[in-house]
C-alpha cells in the first residue's frame, strides 16, 4: 500500500465505517435476541397461576381451579402450572422467569420466605388501597397478612395458606406435651422409649437435612431458648447468647453420647421424619400441621398422638414460637391479565374456599372465618361414604375444631425467619453451617456463625465461603 493509492484518512474513514457497521450488527443481534416477546401470546385469555405441586390428598387444590372455571364458562379460565421438586425449585423457576421478563404467569404462589426478595427486586405489582378494600383485610390473620407487606408499607401479596411448626407427641406414653426443651429431655426416659415399637429409637425426630427445613428448625431452636438472630443497625447479623445456647442445645441433642434426636434426622425432610414417627421411632415429632390428618388417618396412631405448640424457654412462660410458613399470592409486573388475576386471588381467599381447603386438605387457612365456622369436609362438599363403617373425612369437625385453637395460638405466636437483605444467601449459609455442626463438628461458634451470616446475608461483599 502506498500513500498515493491509500492516504491514511481514507483508511481511517474506512475503519470508522466498518466499525459503525459492526456496531450496528452487534446491536441488531443484541436486539433480536433480547427484544423478544415475553413467552406468551397477548391473545391468550387465560389466568395462569404457577405454584408448587398440588400436594393435597385427592387434588383438592385443583378442584378450586375447576370450581372457578365452572363458574366462568365464558372466561377468563384459569390454568395452574404446577412445579415439582420442592421450594428451591419453585424459587429458581419463578425468579428466573421474572429475570427474563417473562409474562408466562399472572399469579405467583410464593413461599412466604421468598416474598421480601421478590418485592425488593421490583418483580411484583402492589395492590392499591381500593383493591385491598375488596379483600376484607380485617378478616385475615394479622401475622399472615404481614408476610405480603413490603418495607415501603404497600401490600404486594395476599396470603393464601399459612403454616407453623408444631410438636406432635405420643400421648399414650407421655402424659402431656413438654413445656421446655429440658422437660422434653426429661420425658425421654429409657422406659418411655421401650414402649415405642420401632428400632433405632430416640426422643425427637425432626427435619435436619441440609435444606431450608434446617433453617426453620435452627430458628425454632433459637427462639425456643429465648434468643434471636437478626440484622443489627450496622447491617451485621447478630447471634445473641441465648441464640447460641439454643443452637448448641440442638447440636448437642444430636451428637451427645445418649442422643435426644434421632440420628437419621440429619438426612430427613418432612415426609421422612413423619414416616419415622408413624413407624414408632420417636416420642416427639416437630412438623407442620399437614402431619395431623396423616397421623389421624393411621389406624394404629390416631388415638395415641397429641399435638401442641413447641416448647418454650421457661416452664412457667409461654410456649415457644414456631416458624411462620405458607404461600402468598402475588401478581408479577409482567403479568398479562392483572385485573382478572386480582379477581381470581379474591376468589381463592374467600371464606368458602378457605374453609374447604382446611377441612379437606389440612392446609392452614389465613382467614378467621375458617377457624370460627368449622365443618368436616364431607359436610362442605356433600360427599357420602359408600361404607357406613368408614368415615368419609380424614378429620372430623371435632378434630378440626381442636386443631383450630392450637393453630390460632401458634400462628399468633409464630415468627418469621430473619428479614435480611438477601435471605437465600443467609439461609443457605445458616443451614449448611448447622448441618456441618450436626454431622461433623459438634459445636456452634457464635462469633464465627455471626461473621458468616453477615457475609452471606447481602450487605457486604460475599466471601468465597457463602454457599
Amino acid at each position: 500500500m502506498t500513500a498515493t493509492t491509500s492516504p491514511w484518512p481514507l483508511r481511517a474513514v474506512a475503519f470508522a465505517a466498518a466499525a459503525v457497521l459492526t456496531a450496528a450488527t452487534t446491536v441488531y443481534q443484541h436486539e433480536s435476541r433480547y427484544r423478544h416477546g415475553c413467552g406468551r401470546s397477548r391473545d391468550d385469555n387465560t389466568i395462569v397461576m404457577v405454584s408448587g405441586e398440588d400436594i393435597t390428598p385427592g387434588r383438592r387444590r385443583e378442584e378450586l381451579i375447576k370450581t372457578w372455571n365452572d363458574q366462568h364458562p365464558l372466561g377468563p379460565r384459569v390454568r395452574l402450572v404446577s412445579l415439582p421438586g420442592g421450594s428451591d425449585q419453585e424459587y429458581s423457576q419463578m425468579l428466573a422467569a421474572q429475570q427474563l421478563g417473562s409474562c408466562l404467569y399472572d399469579v405467583l404462589s410464593l413461599d412466604v420466605v421468598w416474598m421480601q426478595e421478590f418485592i425488593r427486586s421490583g418483580y411484583l405489582d402492589p395492590f392499591t388501597p381500593a383493591e385491598l378494600a375488596g379483600l376484607d383485610q380485617p378478616a385475615f390473620l394479622p401475622k399472615t397478612w404481614a408476610t405480603g407487606a413490603g418495607r415501603d408499607g404497600r401490600q404486594y401479596a395476599i396470603p393464601f395458606t399459612s403454616d407453623v411448626g408444631l410438636l406432635y407427641y405420643r400421648k399414650d406414653i407421655v402424659k402431656r406435651p413438654p413445656r421446655t426443651w429440658d422437660e422434653l429431655r426429661r420425658m425421654t426416659t429409657p422406659a418411655a422409649l421401650r414402649r415405642l415399637p420401632g428400632r433405632d429409637k430416640a426422643g425427637l425426630v425432626t427435619q435436619l437435612a441440609d435444606y431450608e427445613g434446617l433453617t426453620v428448625n435452627g430458628m425454632e431452636a433459637v427462639w425456643g431458648a429465648g434468643g434471636t438472630i437478626a440484622e443489627g443497625q450496622d447491617g451485621r447479623i447478630v447471634v445473641d447468647d441465648a441464640a447460641a445456647a439454643g443452637l448448641h442445645r440442638l447440636v448437642d441433642g444430636m451428637t451427645a453420647s445418649s442422643p435426644l434426636i434421632l440420628a437419621d434426622s440429619a438426612e430427613f425432610r418432612e415426609s421422612d421424619s413423619l414416616t419415622a414417627f408413624i413407624d414408632g421411632r420417636a416420642l416427639f415429632l416437630r412438623d407442620w400441621p399437614y402431619a395431623y390428618p396423616v397421623i389421624a388417618a393411621d389406624p394404629l396412631l390416631k388415638d395415641r398422638v397429641g399435638v401442641a405448640e413447641l416448647p418454650g424457654p421457661a416452664p412457667d412462660g409461654p410456649p415457644g414460637a414456631g416458624a411462620l410458613g405458607g404461600q402468598d399470592l402475588a401478581i408479577p409486573k409482567n403479568a398479562l391479565h392483572k385485573e382478572e388475576a386480582r379477581r381470581f386471588i379474591r376468589f381463592l381467599t374467600e371464606p368458602a374456599q378457605q374453609r374447604r381447603l382446611y377441612a379437606c386438605t389440612g392446609y392452614v387457612p389465613v382467614r378467621v372465618e375458617a377457624y370460627r365456622d368449622v365443618a368436616a369436609c364431607s359436610q362442605l362438599t356433600g360427599e357420602r361414604p359408600a361404607n357406613p363403617r368408614e368415615s368419609p373425612d380424614s378429620l372430623t369437625a371435632r378434630q378440626l375444631r381442636g386443631l383450630s385453637g392450637i393453630l390460632l395460638r401458634a400462628i399468633d405466636r409464630a415468627r418469621q425467619r430473619p428479614d435480611v437483605l438477601y435471605y437465600p444467601g443467609f439461609s443457605r449459609a445458616f443451614h449448611r453451617y448447622l448441618h456441618d455442626a450436626l454431622t461433623q463438628r459438634g459445636v456452634v461458634d457464635a462469633g464465627a456463625l455471626s461473621r458468616l451470616l453477615t457475609t452471606c446475608a447481602g450487605r457486604t461483599p460475599p466471601g468465597a465461603v457463602c454457599p
Partner: protein, 708 residues
C-alpha cells in the same frame, strides 16, 4: 532536523503525519461507535445511569478536541478525503461487480492485477476490524448489561438465577463445579452475580417428551383440565451425557425451544467393570484381554460366573448409551455375515435375535436402576457377582466411596467390593456437551454472559477433579487398574441413539400387564408425602406408561366395581390391548384422570386379582397383574387367599401377581402377607420413594425371564 529533505520526498508533510493519531482516532471512533448505541439502549431500559456515558462522552470530546487543535489540517483533510473515500468505495463495489459479472460469464476475473491486490488487502483489513469489533462489541455488551434490578443496595443486584439440568450420576460433580464457579465470580466482582440451581435429570423418556412439549410432564399431561404439570424448572443449561443424545433430542424439540450445542466440556468412556476377585477369571476367558470387544466381554461374563447389569435404558441416558454400545455388534455381525446363511430368524430384523440374547443376559438386581449411581449403590449395599456397564467417572465415584444418591448418601470408608474396569475396544465415549436452551425466545444478556462464563469454567477442566477426562480423552492420573492416561474419543451417533431406543423395545421380554387399582374409601387416606394413597397409585401407573412399548399390552381396572358394602366386582376402565400410543392416550390416561377420589365401600382384593388374571387370558405374552392397594381384603362373599391361589394355579397361563402396597403398613398388611408368604404374589412397598425408580424395578422384574 538534519535528515529533513535528504530523501527527496516532501518530508515537510510526512514528518507531520501523526501515525499515533491515526490509531487514536480510529480507536476512539470505534469505541464511540460501539458504546453509543449500547449506552442509549441501556439508558432507555433504565439499566444504565446517565453518569457513566456522560463521563465517557466528555473523555472522547477532550481527546478529539486535542487531536484537532494539535493537527489543525486534520479537519481540512478529513473533509477532503471523505469525498475521495466515498469515491473509492463506489469504485471498489463496481470493480467487484464487474469481476463477479466476468466470473459469471466464465472469464477469469481481473482480481489478480497488481492494482487489485491493494483492494484485496483493504478488504482483508476491513474484515479484520469487523471481526475484532464484533468481539469488542460483545465483550462490551456483556460488561455493560447487568440484570435489570432496582436493588442498588445489593452489590450487582439480583444474582442471575441459572437453572442447570444434568443426569443424576453427574449431579454432585456439577453442583460442586457450580458452587466453585459462583464463589469465583463473587471473589472477582465483590458481589454475588450468579446463583445456580442444579437439577438431576428427569427420566430419559420424559426428557424427550419434555423438550418436544415445552417441558410439560408427559405422564401428568392429560390428568386434569386447567392444570399443566412441568417436569421441573425448564433448564437454561442442559448437560447431557453425549452429543449424539443432544442431537437426537434437538431433532424432536418443539419449534419454540432452541438447543445450542456449545461443545464438549469433558469426556468419560463407558467401561465394563467386574469385581476384583473375578477379574482374573474374566481375563482367562477373553481372546484378547488387552483389547476385548463388548461381545467378548458378554461371552466371558457367564463363564466367569458373572451376570451383567446396566442402568435402565428407559429412564437412564447412560443406560441408553450402554445399550447402543452393546447392540452395535448385532448390526456389524449381520452386515458381514448376512448372506452367509448363518441360519437366523426368518422374519424381521435378523439382529433382533442377537439383541434378545443380550437382553436375556442382563440381570435385574431387585433394586431401582434409574441411573449409573443407582446401579453402583445397589452393588454397594448388596454385593453380588455382577458385572456393571457404567461411565468410568461413575465407577470412580464408587471406588472412592463418594455419595451415590438416594440410599447411598452417607459417607463410607471404602466400597465393600472393589471393581476393576475393562475398556472395550469398541466402546464409545460420553462427551458431555454444553447445551444452551432458550425457551420461547426468552433470553437476557446478563444470563447469556453468565452462561458463557459458566461454560468456560466447566471447559477449563473443573470437572476433571471429579473423575472426568478432558475433551480429548486425557486424564492426569490413573486411579483405576486396567486404565490408560489416554482414551480415543469415539463418539456415539444420533442414529445409534434412536436405533437403540427402538431396538431395545423389541429385544426385551414383552409383557401383558393389567393394572388393578384399589378405589375403596381407605385409599383416600393422606400419606406422609401429603397426597392420598390413590394419588400415589395413579402416579405409579402413569409413570409405568414410559416403560411400555407398542408390542406390550396394557389394561386398567379398579375395584370394587360398585358402591355397595358387599360388592365383589371389579370395573374395567381400559381393556387389555396393545400399548400403542392411541390406546395409551385415548383409553388409559383418561381413565386414570377420572380416578380423582375413592368412593368404594368394600375391598374385594382377591376377587379383583382373580378377575384380572382371567381378563389376561389370550391377550399376550408374559401376563402380569399389578395391584395397587392398601391391602385389607374385607368383604362378605368374596374369595379367600387360599381359593385365589388355587384358581391361579389352575389357570392355563398363570400370570405373575405384583402388589404395590400404598398403605401405612406397606407389605406387612396381613391380607398381603397371606399371598406373599405362599409366593402367590410378590410385594413392593410403594408408600414413599422415587416413582420412576420403583416403576423401573417392577418392570425389570416383570421382564425377567424364567421362573415365576
Amino acid at each position: 532536523m538534519p535528515s529533513e529533505g535528504d530523501r527527496g520526498i516532501p518530508e515537510h508533510d510526512a514528518g507531520k503525519r501523526p501515525t499515533w493519531a491515526i490509531v487514536v482516532f480510529t480507536l476512539t471512533g470505534s469505541v464511540v461507535a460501539f458504546a453509543a448505541p449500547l449506552g442509549l439502549t441501556l439508558m432507555q431500559t433504565g439499566r444504565l445511569q446517565p453518569t457513566w456515558p456522560a463521563v465517557a462522552a466528555l473523555a472522547v470530546a477532550v481527546v478529539l478536541g486535542r487531536l484537532f487543535t494539535r493537527f489543525p489540517d486534520l479537519t481540512d483533510r478529513l473533509v477532503r478525503e471523505l469525498g475521495g473515500a466515498l469515491h473509492s468505495i463506489v469504485r471498489w463495489w463496481s470493480a467487484t461487480g464487474r469481476a463477479a459479472a466476468g466470473f459469471l460469464r466464465g472469464r477469469l476475473p481481473a482480481l489478480t492485477k497488481p492494482g487489485r491486490l491493494v483492494l484485496v488487502r483493504q478488504v482483508l483489513a476491513i474484515v479484520l476490524v469487523v471481526v475484532l469489533g464484533a468481539g469488542a462489541g460483545r465483550a462490551l455488551a456483556g460488561r455493560l448489561l447487568p440484570a435489570p434490578s432496582p436493588r442498588d443496595a445489593v452489590p450487582c443486584g439480583d444474582p442471575v438465577e441459572l437453572r442447570v439440568l444434568t443426569p443424576p450420576e453427574d449431579r454432585d460433580a456439577v453442583q460442586s463445579a457450580a458452587d466453585g464457579f459462583a464463589a469465583d465470580q463473587a471473589r472477582r466482582r465483590h458481589c454475588r452475580p450468579v446463583h445456580i440451581t442444579v437439577n438431576a435429570q428427569v427420566p430419559f423418556s420424559d426428557l424427550l417428551q419434555g423438550f418436544a412439549t415445552r417441558w410439560q410432564d408427559p405422564s401428568k399431561q392429560p390428568v386434569s383440565t386447567g392444570v399443566m404439570a412441568l417436569l421441573g424448572p425448564p433448564p437454561d443449561i442442559w448437560l447431557p451425557a453425549a452429543t449424539a443424545e443432544a442431537d437426537y433430542v434437538a431433532g424432536r424439540a418443539h419449534p419454540d425451544v432452541t438447543l445450542d450445542d456449545e461443545g464438549s466440556i469433558a469426556t468419560s468412556p463407558l467401561v465394563f467393570a467386574v469385581p476384583d476377585d473375578y477379574a482374573q477369571r474374566m481375563a482367562e476367558n477373553l481372546p484378547d484381554p488387552d483389547a476385548p470387544t463388548w461381545a467378548d466381554l458378554l461371552a466371558a461374563a457367564p463363564k466367569a460366573g458373572l451376570r451383567v447389569a446396566r442402568p435402565d435404558p428407559t429412564v437412564s441416558e447412560a443406560g441408553v448409551l450402554a445399550t447402543a454400545d452393546l447392540y452395535r455388534a448385532s448390526h456389524a455381525g449381520h452386515r458381514a455375515g448376512g448372506t452367509g446363511g448363518t441360519g437366523r430368524d426368518g422374519g424381521g430384523d435378523p439382529g433382533d435375535r442377537d439383541r434378545r440374547a443380550v437382553e436375556e443376559q442382563i440381570a435385574s438386581l431387585g433394586a431401582p436402576l434409574s441411573s449409573a449411581h443407582d446401579l453402583l449403590c445397589a452393588i454397594r449395599q448388596n454385593p453380588a457377582p455382577v458385572a456393571v456397564i457404567v461411565p468410568e467417572q461413575a465407577l470412580l465415584d464408587y471406588d472412592q466411596a463418594k455419595p451415590l444418591g438416594v440410599g447411598c448418601s452417607l459417607p463410607i470408608a471404602r466400597p465393600p467390593v472393589p471393581y476393576r474396569p475393562f475398556h472395550p475396544a469398541d466402546a464409545r465415549v460420553l462427551d458431555y456437551p454444553f447445551v444452551r436452551v432458550t425457551w420461547q425466545g426468552q433470553a437476557d444478556a446478563a444470563r447469556d454472559t453468565m452462561i458463557d462464563r459458566f461454560r468456560s469454567w466447566l471447559a477449563g477442566g473443573t470437572l476433571q477433579d471429579a473423575g472426568f477426562r478432558d475433551r480429548s480423552g486425557h486424564t492426569e492420573s490413573v486411579q483405576l487398574p486396567n486404565t490408560r492416561l489416554e482414551t480415543e474419543v469415539r463418539r456415539f451417533t444420533r442414529t445409534e441413539i434412536g436405533r437403540a431406543i427402538a431396538e431395545y423395545r423389541r429385544a426385551r421380554l414383552l409383557v401383558t400387564v393389567d393394572f388393578v387399582i384399589d378405589v375403596s374409601g381407605s385409599m383416600n387416606r393422606p400419606t406422609p408425602e401429603r397426597v392420598s394413597e390413590l394419588d400415589r397409585a395413579r402416579e405409579l401407573v402413569a409413570q409405568a406408561v414410559d416403560f411400555l412399548g407398542p408390542s406390550d399390552a396394557v389394561g386398567l381396572s379398579t375395584f370394587p366395581g360398585g358402591r355397595a358394602v358387599d360388592d365383589v366386582t371389579s370395573a374395567v376402565r381400559a381393556e387389555v390391548a396393545p400399548a400403542a400410543a392411541d390406546h395409551i392416550s385415548k383409553d388409559l390416561q383418561p381413565a386414570l384422570a377420572r380416578l380423582g377420589r375413592a368412593h368404594g365401600g368394600s375391598t374385594p382384593l382377591y376377587n379383583a386379582i382373580d378377575d384380572a388374571s382371567k381378563a389376561l387370558v389370550g391377550k399376550g405374552d408374559n401376563p402380569a397383574v399389578v395391584v395397587l392397594t392398601d391391602g385389607d381384603d374385607h368383604v362378605r362373599g368374596g374369595i379367600g387367599a387360599a381359593e385365589l391361589a388355587k384358581r391361579l394355579a389352575a389357570a392355563p397361563e398363570r400370570p405373575r401377581i405384583v402388589m404395590l402396597a400404598t398403605g401405612p403398613k406397606g407389605c406387612d398388611e396381613p391380607d398381603v402377607t397371606a399371598l406373599t408368604a405362599t409366593r402367590t404374589a410378590v410385594c413392593y412397598n410403594a408408600t414413599s420413594g422415587e416413582t420412576d425408580g420403583l416403576t423401573s424395578l417392577v418392570f425389570a422384574e416383570l421382564r425377567k425371564g424364567g421362573s415365576r
